[in-house]
Structure formats: structure tokens, C-alpha cells
Amino acid sequence: MIAQSPLTSAAPLAAAIFLVTIGLVIARPWRLSEATAALLGAGAMVLAGLVSARGAVSDVAGNWNVLLFFVGLTGAAAVAERSGLFEALAGTSARMSGGSPRRLLVAVVAAGAIVAALLSNDAAALVLTPVVYVLVARFGLSPLPYVLACTFVADAASIALPVSNPVNVIVSDRLGVSAASLVPVLLPAALASVVALLGCLLVMYRRQLPARAPLVPPSDSWASWTGVPRRLLAAFGVAVGAFAVASALNLPLGPTMTAVWLLLLGVEWTSRRPDRPLDGIGCSLLVFVASMGILVDGLSSAGITAWLAQIVLGQVRDSPAAVMVVTAFAAAVGANLVNNLPAAFVFADAVQGAGLSAASAHAAALGTIIGADLGPNLTPVGSVATLLWFVLLRQRGLEVSTWSYIRIGLIVTPVTILAALGVALLLGVPR
């Protein structure tokens, strides 16, 4: 094949706009929100003529499925948070631990995996972490291993289902691969990566976890399932089933997720009217994702994503197994350089434009999802760039030993990626 560079003369400008935008997203100077930064970047792409105004509108409109999905997902997560579901799940973990710090770690990882798989990794990390912290403190234990376990498992389990990570929907939507067709491969892969993570944590904390917790809180003091309205629990069950059926029928996930959210909100309304039912809808997430679509369109029109695809997939495009491995590692590296959502957008666009065969595109979707979901665990703050910012924060008084966190991510990330990739290669590559 003749390798002719697909880069156009506008490539340096497009790359500069993208990188400055990502820099603003990560560093957030003047308390600029990520959404505002991304919107500024998208505006710059249009002003620079890299994306036409009409193109920008059609980018946003073309993302309708993903955007509706996020409305439903953030709304459903907010209903779950208000319902006390997380506290009840954590309470069950506490009861199951029997006061053993090791068993508590296993139970916390299991609870985190369930929440991440059914309600997205971000909900698991943001809502479950404080709940777990409070729970572990009541045992008189140091919460640090458990807090990190929540962070890591939120991502390790997030390859499981389309709902488990925003990246999954973005990648399958852009690559035109049915999200449901990935589940038979990704669900076992998620299980493998969670087990691998648990093994790492138990080995690495074997000296820090005492044999018994110093305090034994009475077991009836833990939040129980009776606090969660029965009807709402049933609605969650129905929602999971409805979602499974809809994705098996290949219905678009966005409207399905929005319908699921409206169902949950309706049931919540009948038992306990929420004060502000629309709180927790991720408006800034929507702006961010819509802007990201325009930014990546700019990169694409300048030939940058095609150039990336040539570099990454140039030699291996005809072997699905090689495509999967290469995209997984490239997406993991990308996620650590520019955070996972932008990396997923860029990669999905690059792979989509490469004109792969159906088997290779399927393998590329699996690889990209594994890499972009699990890769950011390398540092507990999501990317190497964020980590630099985190180190700056330390100088401003955040007194935590950064090294003790990085060290764990450096071990956990390759191990979980390899575990997931191994399973995906076994199950996801036709032979």
C-alpha cells in the first residue's frame, strides 16, 4: 500500500486548537469549566473554517443518540442516588464482611463493579466513594485502600455493558457496531479485569490490612434495603430488563435510556416526590460531548484522524486480533495523554475512517473500548496530564502522598488491560 500522508495544510492549526482546548479542559485556568473550554475549542474550529457552521450543526445532530443517552444515564444515576440504593448496597457489603478488612475489600469491589456495570463508571466513583469512605471509617480502618478500590473498579468493570461507560456508547455509535453485539465478549472480559484488579489489591495491601477491624459496629446500624422504596427497586429491575431487551433488538440506546430514566422518575414521583427532579442531569456533560464531536470533526477534515489511523493501523488492518491489541494499547496511551472521552472520540473517528472489514471493525471497537475504559486507571486522576496538575495541587496544600497512588495504578492498569484483552481475544475474534 502506498503511504501517502493524508494531512492537509490546515493540520497544524487543527491540532493546535485541539491541544489548547484539551490543555484548558485539564488545567481549568480561571475556574473555567470543562464544558466551556470544549465549547470555546469547538467555536475556534468553526471560526478557523475547519468546520462549517452547517457542519457543526450536523455534528451535534448526528450525536443525538449519544446525547439522549447521557440525558437518560445522568438522570437515572440521580434517581438511584436519591433513593438510598448506594447506601443499602454498601450496608450489605459491610454485613457480608463480618468485620474482616480483607472480606470488606472484596465486598466493596463487588459492590463497585455492580454499580459501575449497571449505572456507569462515573456514578460508581462519584457517588459510591463517599458512601464507602463513611462505611470503612466506622470500622476504624484506614479508608485509603477502599477509596482507591472504588476508583479502580469503577473503570475495571466499566467495559461490561453499553451503560457502564460513556466511552462504550460513543465508540459503538461512531463505528456503527451494534452495542449489544459487544456484550457477549465484554461482559466476561469485565469479569476478568475485576478479578485481576481484586487480586492486585489484595496482594498490594496484604501488609496494610489488619486481621480484624478495630471497631465492630452493630450490624443493625447499617443502611438496609427497607429504606429504598419497594416500587423503585422493582422499577430498577424492570429498567435493567427493558434495556437488555432493547439492546438485543438493536433499538437505539439514546431513546431507550431516556425512556428508562422517565420510567424511574415516574415511579419515584409516586412514592417520594423529589424536590428538584431535574438536578443531576449532566448539562455540562452534554455541552462537552457535543463540542467534542465538532472538535473531532475539525481534526478529521484536516486529515489528522486519518493520519493517526494510518500510523496505528497501517500494518495490521487485515488481522482482527492484531487490530484489537493495537487499538487497545493506542487508546490506553491516548486516554492517558488527553483523558478518556476525547481519546475515545478521536480513536473512534480514526478507526471509522480507515475502512476496515466488518471483523476488523468489531475487533477495533472492542480494543478501543478496553483501552479507553481501563487505560485512565494508570493514574488515579485519569491522565498523566491531570496528574501533573494534581502534583501542583499538592503544593497548594493537598497533603497526600502521590506516589502511593500512582504506584498502584501503574501495576493495576496493565494487569487489568491484559486480563480483559486476553478474554476478548479468546471470545471476540473469529477463527
Binding site: 462515573d122 471509617a137 501488609r207 489488619p210 478495630p214 471497631l215 462537552f288 488515579p380 497526600v400
Partner: protein, 166 residues
Amino acid sequence: MSATRRFLVALAGTEDPALPEQVAQVAGTGGPAVEVTLLHVVETGPRELAAYQPAVRRGPWPLPKKDAIEGRLKDADEEAATALLAVWHDRFAAALPTAQIARLVAQGRPEQEIVVAAKRLNADALVLCARPRSGPAEPGPRSVGHVARFVLDHSPVPVLLIRRSS
């Protein structure tokens, strides 16, 4: 000079329950009056990480209210510190029936707060365990944990280093 001997005991909470007996052997009985202050330092690093790090990590995902979460975590820490010190208070009272026992909670980095408290209380001796968070400490370069290591280096008063009896 008062005749009272003042011991400051730094407790992570996971120490060997035999610790009060070991302190009692050193303090003796019948001699001058003994005053024991039990100090537990709530490590604030994990709390800041728990409230802060997922927010940094998760980008524009809608965040729960940060102040409310920090308050919840702080309350949990304080509740745990109180409960831990109550448990150890009873153990020390059983081992040292005539001693006066006080409780103290500090917040920050344990190694620094222990040294600061020893200086402020002007204790006659500081009692701490070599590796409270692990099993029986084996001899060797890692037999003293990082908190105890710092305190050994910086304590303004004599240190009584206790190893867990196996």
C-alpha cells in the same frame, strides 16, 4: 517539677490489645501518679482524596455537592475517632486502674501531629507501636512503619517503641 509521670500514647486503633499491659509494665504501679493521654490522629489525606480526586478524574459528569460530601466524611472520621478512643480508654483503664486517662483527637498527618502533641503536652515519654497496621513486625529494615520512623527522628521527648507480641 511535678511528681506525675505523663505518657502520651499514639494510637492508630489497630494496635495489639496487649498494648496497655505493656505500658503498665513500664509505668509500674504504686510509684508516682501516672497520667496517660491517648492520642488518635485522623489522617486527612484520604478524605481529601475521596472528596476531590473523583471530581478531578470524572470531568464534566454532574457532581454531588462537594461541601456536603466533605462534611459527611469529616463526621464519619470524628465518630470513628471517638469510638476508637472509647475502646482503648476502657482497655487502658483496666490495665492501669489508678492512672488518670485523657483522650485527644487531632487531624492532619499522623507523624507530624504526634510530634506536635508530644511537644505541647510536654510528656515524659511518647508510646507508639512500630507498625500498628500490619501483623507481628519482623526485624529488619522495614520493621518500623513510616509514621513511627518520622516520630523516632523528630520526637522532642523519649520514645517508647512497642513491637507487637507475636
